[in-house]
């Protein structure tokens, strides 16, 4: 079990964080570090692509919420790309759909940022 993290620059002063694998108490620090590094560098508009994430728990949600709180302090935003029904369900039941922008594709997440 592992998480793969890939960070890439995208148009519009924005970065995409591609995540692949499982986000839990063991792997979430790696995600937290990647998001934190971007914010420390002054990147405040993020797209986090969860399309290849098979599993996420509360520690993963906490990392995403923490990132969102930090970028919002700078007028930024975090949009999520998520197509996995089970992961969408977790965002639904926790009410996180109300605080994140959640999109079915990277294109639509990108358009909503700018």
């Amino acid at each position: 079990m592992d998480i793969k993290v890939n960070v890439r620059e995208a148009p519009g002063d924005c970065y995409v964080v591609d995540l692949s694998g499982e986000i839990d108490v063991y792997t979430s620090p790696k995600v937290k570090d990647a998001i934190g590094d971007l914010i420390d560098r002054g990147v405040y508009h993020l797209i986090i692509n969860l399309e290849k994430v098979r599993y996420i728990d509360s520690t993963g949600l906490g990392v995403l919420i923490g990132g969102l709180k930090r970028v919002r302090e700078h007028g930024g935003s975090v949009n999520l790309v998520c197509t996995n029904p089970q992961i969408k369900k977790i965002f639904d039941i926790t009410g996180l759909v109300k605080i994140f922008g959640i999109f079915d594709s990277e294109d639509s997440a990108m358009k909503a940022l700018v």
């Binding site: 499982e22 839990d24 728990d57 509360s58 089970q86 977790i90 039941i93 926790t94």
Partner: protein
């Protein structure tokens, strides 16, 4: 693949893992395997996986945790019963509610909120010397 459980005798699986983050995946996969022996849907099995992982994570994140987590999964004819035992003096605690906002305290309570939402019955048995048991039940929906 084994046939689903269709008999009166319960099947019981026990697993003891170190109370460390790298072992939580094993606990949730074990619980999912037992859930799969019953006729749960894929979505329900995912619910069990997440609830068990959240229970183990709560133990691991507690500063007074024990050295090990004991997971017991019992496949009954109508339900799956899961016990997560932490030998530490304080284990998972019955905090968190059905409605959430997202200040720091609520983020910390997300795990317990998920457990209570995803499982049909949740109870705690806290013993000052023996540790804490979190008992969870997922019932088979009528099919």
């Amino acid at each position: 693949m084994n046939q689903p459980v269709q008999h009166a005798i319960p099947e019981l699986v026990e697993l003891r893992i170190p109370a460390r983050p790298e072992w939580v995946a094993l606990a949730r996969l074990a619980a999912a395997t037992v859930a799969n022996r019953l006729s749960f849907s894929i979505e329900e099995i995912e619910d069990v996986k997440l609830a068990v992982a959240e229970a183990c994570t709560a133990v691991i994140q507690h500063e007074n945790r024990g050295e090990f987590i004991q997971l017991t999964c019992e496949a009954l004819s109508d339900s799956l019963r899961v016990r997560v035992h932490d030998s530490g003096r304080h284990g998972v605690e019955p905090a968190g509610g059905r409605s959430m906002d997202f200040d720091e305290a609520r983020i910390a309570g997300l795990g317990v909120f998920l457990i209570r939402t995803l499982m049909d019955e949740v109870s705690y048995d806290v013993h000052p010397q023996l540790g804490t048991d979190l008992l969870m039940v997922k019932r088979l929906a009528a099919r």
